[in-house]
Point group: C3
Chain length 358, copies 3
């Protein structure tokens, strides 16, 4: 696909600065820009690359003002990442709409499959499953009894979906993710061992959710584990039974959420964060990577850090002192010595004064 | 399945308070209780829901005393979670005992399969494998040469078991878990690179073990990685080569255990905990989520927190001061100023006294 | 395979102390040594086992000097782990070079397969893939369009490799790992939701790389996620889009690396470490398990600990005071009381002196 800078600007509702006729055939990174490609400047850290990049064009924010002349044509837009998303979509190889159902897939006769669905090799689809239109099931996927899958869903190779789960429209589930395995529920028995508590619920994933590779979402013991509309989960995340994740919340890789915790909408959760079970997290909460959340977060739009997590800025302040702990203790020791010296001085002085007065 | 409250009480050896004839057809959560269902009150945090729940019955501890009247029939039992386990089992859909061995599974002629085993589609079972009676192998599982699997074992879709591993009776292994992959062992070579050390051992999983989705247990370099009777491992856990996990130890999601570490029996390990290699952890150790265990734990039944972990309560005390670190340092600065002021005061006073005395 | 101690010494270029004719048929752990086996002493922690081990021979460092007589034949070598690697390789069961391409594998006609390749059951290989000589693809693997795989590569069951990725020679990829899934890239849209940014790049894995089970390496948004020659990745690791990992860097389990971060060569990274995105880590950096790396590391061969990480030794010093925080604060309180007492004493003394002088 080839497009001129001016055509791209039109597509993105942006403005061109420089040669509008330069021809673009794909994207490149600004530090590795090549002629005939378009780069982008999202993170200001990379701004210095823009003056020397070999990319023919660069997507920039409308607020960007070059500090010196540059060769690349600039296309300035309202929101660089949103525009980049549109542009990358244009350069993206289309997943062929094969409408093919492989003869090596094993599909129960009770399954209902919508229009223009493709199902690749060695897929297994059990009884009473429904799959919406234009969804694509890649190879070696397993879909258990009674699962419902919406329209325009992509399920990558090796994903396993246990019985009774529900997947909304426009979802993407990456390779080897597991949806609906048993929650981690055991009751202690009299012998000191544990007895499994049957996990009778399911997982409900609403529309527009993306789930990363090897992420696991456990089924509810009773009721549903809920992943609401627009949630984005990175790779290797653990979602315990009966958890709810609110709309448009974004969670980075390797975070774990223990059972029955409810995370509000529009949260931004870093990687390797841990949530205790049975807590509630308010809307818009931001959590720094590796934090441990051990209790409810009640106020919206707050930022947290540490294990257990405290206010983000307070953590940084306390940690700054933690780094200087040896100096602080040394300073305290100095004060102690000084204090002892003073006591002695006062005593000496008092003794002397007494003598002199006498 | 429908049962009256009195029938359920009989099953659980509990007592009924309220209408014994109310009919129950399934479980529900206490905060989402529905007529015709039975809820439970395990965590006291949820006690306030019991007065308004629409559930027809609620399973409570024999110690529970209502603070005011309530509509639901109560069934009081010795141990709520153990009773819940029994009850949920009753409501659990039975996995059909199909005794079917799929014609699409590829089973080596040397494999020995017990009675009433079911093997689903696209399973691969290599030479000299033995599978006990009433075990169920779900679709797309891989079982390498010489693996032995006991009776009543459930192996969910996509599990991969490398050669020579042993799985006891009544085990459950969830989707896409990996058992017996190579331990992470390399020797530095002269060129600055690493040479792989062949991993010749296996994994031995004893009876009554449950293993979560996408959990990995590496084979021993020499000998066996041991998962003892009754161990419960959550999802996405890493168990390194030559690790031993003692009987009835329970480990939450995303914890990692480095090579050759031995964890005693009856431990409770939180999520995202890390264990250094080559250490020993005493029986009954409790470890808070996200802790890092860097040395032996010798005394039984102790509780730990932090990275590196220290006594649980001491960590909380130290962390309480960590949170107040800016105030503490400010207080120290104040003392310093006060100390300087005192020194000056003494000096002034001494000068003055001298003059006056003179 | 049976070998005498003297034959083993010759193989390892080591020296024999004790009976050179003792026959060895396999390896054992020193604490579980059995007659007819050879153990090794790598970690000095295990040195005390050498005097009582039943192993017929023990591999030791040339620096090892026994403190008292012992029964086992010693074979002393320059580098115990490197020698062990060679020895274990000798005892390792050879993976049969079956040169078989299963009729149940589904291989696109455009695929090019080298000499002596084996492809097991239910493997799927898409268009334009190339596989080098003597590589072995285990069962249930998925290899997407245009993937190139080198010579002598082992790909274990259930691995999923997305389109366009490149795997070098002599690589090992363990079960259910995912290579080339989409990077976690979204642009905020006007409605408060997120729009996916298409991920157009790939993953390039160079020669001699080992990748653990259930590890995930995301494809670049643009360009390549790079895993350089000789890198060793343990299980359950997350590698974000556009990351580069330098030559011979070794990373332990469950570590996560956010997008666009560049890790230098010869680094040693512990388990459960987290790296922020868009940072650079110098050659030879050592990072303690569970650390969080939030900014560039510029100097080579430094050692880090903490979240956020600081100098390793400084962290230990600060943490030693953190453990004593309650005592330190108590000491400060004592000083405060002492200071108040001194102030009062001076005041009293001054009052008294004034009176006496008057």
């Amino acid at each position: 696909m080839q497009k001129s800078a001016s055509q791209i600007a039109m597509l993105l509702e942006g403005k061109v600065f420089g040669n509008p006729d330069v021809i673009i055939s794909g994207p490149s990174k600004i530090e590795e820009g090549k002629p005939g490609t378009i780069s982008f400047l999202g993170n200001p850290k990379y701004a210095h690359y823009i003056y020397d990049t070999l990319a023919s064009a660069v997507l920039v924010s409308k607020d960007f003002v070059p500090e010196r002349p540059l060769k690349a044509t600039l296309i300035s837009v309202e929101n660089v990442y949103a525009s980049l998303a549109i542009l990358m979509e244009h350069f993206s190889p289309k997943i062929a709409n094969e409408k093919i159902i492989s003869s090596t897939s094993i599909i129960d006769p009770t399954v209902h499959i919508g229009d223009e669905v493709s199902i690749d090799d060695y897929v297994i689809i059990k009884a009473n499953v429904r799959i919406g239109s234009r969804s694509k099931i890649f190879a070696q996927v397993y879909i258990g009894n009674n699962v419902h899958i919406g329209d325009n869903v992509l399920i990558y190779p090796g994903v396993k979906i246990y019985r009774d789960c529900v997947i909304g429209n426009n979802c993407v589930i990456h390779a080897n993710a597991v949806i609906g395995s048993d929650g981690f529920g055991f009751g202690k028995d009299d012998s000191g061992g544990y007895k499994k508590i049957a996990q009778l619920g399911n997982v409900v994933i609403e529309d527009d959710v993306e789930i990363g590779s090897n992420t696991v979402i456990d089924r509810a013991s009773i009721g549903s584990t809920m992943i609401k509309k627009g949630v984005k989960l990175d790779n290797l995340i653990q979602v315990g039974h009966n958890v709810t994740i609110g709309e448009n919340t974004v969670i980075a890789a390797q975070t774990g959420i223990a059972g029955s915790t409810k995370i509000g909408p529009n949260c931004l959760i870093g990687g390797q964060v841990g949530f205790k079970g049975h807590i509630d997290i308010a809307e818009g909460t931001m959590i720094q990577a590796q934090s441990g959340i051990g209790s409810n977060i009640k106020h919206e739009n707050t930022k947290w850090y540490g294990s257990p997590a405290i206010d983000f800025n307070n953590y940084l302040k306390s940690y700054a002192y933690f780094r200087k702990f040896p100096e602080i203790v040394q300073q305290m020791r100095k004060q102690e010595i000084e204090l002892d010296r003073l006591k002695q001085e006062i005593k000496n002085f008092a003794d002397k004064t007494k003598k002199e007065i006498r």
